[in-house]
Symmetry: C2
DNA sequence: GCATAATGTCAACACATGTTCACTTTGCCA
DNA sequence: TGGCAAAGTGAACATGTGTTGACATTATGC
């Protein structure tokens, strides 16, 4: 039983991860981070890095893991929340954006490294998102009309929704952090996009 | 009139740009490229780089420009092409994917640096895409039913379409280059997504 | 409280990076 | 054809990089 110790080591490990996240959120891509600057910003000597991670890539993978975890947590909480009868879409979008604001660093990391320069990170994030799409698809399959849809059609529509939300995420992250007007407009546009999609559902005939 | 010479210089300038594009397509993010490796892969000495670009960032901006230009070229050609009466959506998607395959390097660059680590490149690409969305919106405003839509609604739906196409682009670029089956499936999914969107159009009531 | 493993430090390495300056070569235009 | 600007070269620089090994300092479980 390798009971993980939770001494100061655990905290500087976290500090390293946070430092990396902050650097990424500041604009740099993970690919271009330097081990030395990272340790410096944490206040330890470069060589101490290896006490916590085997390599930079390992750090990156840990960050992918952590970030995807907050994504899953969001979905779980959303599932446990009772579904509001009115304004389902609008309130979902709003909730999402709040969650996004509360976890900017993780979302920023995911967005940047999703197409970033490190193949293994890309792969990990890609898989995570695909899983996310799948879960969304099966969730949607429980709704009144959609319960007659094929699995493929459900994935198709889930993918479309995720694409819309991804675009919104991009816009939010690139807007100034406290611009309420911009945020409101993005929420508005995304809400209308999702409403449009829902409007199409009853019309759909699988070919 | 500063008539640009087209000597060997012009060609190694292009060679530098191509080398950078290849490196990016290979996986590295632009801000992790090294000036030295670049010049080495072109066969010139590092210092000669400055004969063609003031800095790496200048190279990047030139690449943004070039890549966005192929995007605009695509749209222009699409506009000049007569609209097929049947299977409009499917044939559009197919055409797009072919164009994408024929210009993988440029699309790869756009996709990677759209969220990449260099702010100015991000900004440039973002603006380019927004312009793209606007043009698509006004184009769509010429269609039978959509000609009654507000500009805001048109932008909304155009954004949704672009989001779907962007997702498809990502999938295509990350699939092996000659996997016809995967390509066919992506085309299929995207086509259905766009069809779904079109189905919603007659139902839409602007609030 | 002591032994022990985990964290952290220090010095040093071999190498890669961007950029400088003065120089040579190339190719075009008058 | 001679001149001149453009393109390419070479040596050298100051810095930054990842990684090594041997050593010091913690903290924690027994």
């Amino acid at each position: 039983m390798t009971a993980r110790r939770a001494g100061r080591g655990e905290t500087t490990r976290k500090a390293l991860m946070d430092a990396a996240l902050r650097q990424v959120a500041r604009g740099r891509s993970f690919d271009a981070l330097s081990l030395r600057k990272l340790t410096q910003s944490v206040g330890i000597v470069p060589t101490a890095f290896y006490r916590h991670f085997e390599s930079m890539e390992a750090l990156g993978l840990a960050l992918v893991d952590e970030s995807l975890r907050t994504l899953r947590r969001m979905m779980r909480e959303a599932r446990e929340q009772p579904v509001p009868h009115e304004q389902v879409i609008r309130s979902s979008v709003t909730t999402y954006v709040h969650y996004l604001q509360a976890n900017r660093l993780h979302f920023h990391f995911i967005m940047r490294e999703r197409f970033g320069g490190v193949a293994t990170l890309r792969q990990g994030i890609h898989n995570g998102i695909q899983l996310f799409v799948s879960e969304l698809a099966t969730d949607m399959g429980r709704f009144p009309v959609l319960d007659r849809w094929s699995a493929g059609d459900l994935r198709m529509i889930a993918g479309l929704i995720v694409a819309a939300v991804t675009e919104a995420t991009d816009l939010i992250l690139n807007a100034p952090e406290d611009d309420a007007d911009a945020e409101a407009e993005i929420i508005n546009t995304t809400t209308r996009q999702l409403r449009l999609i829902v409007l199409a559902v009853p019309q759909w005939r699988s070919s």
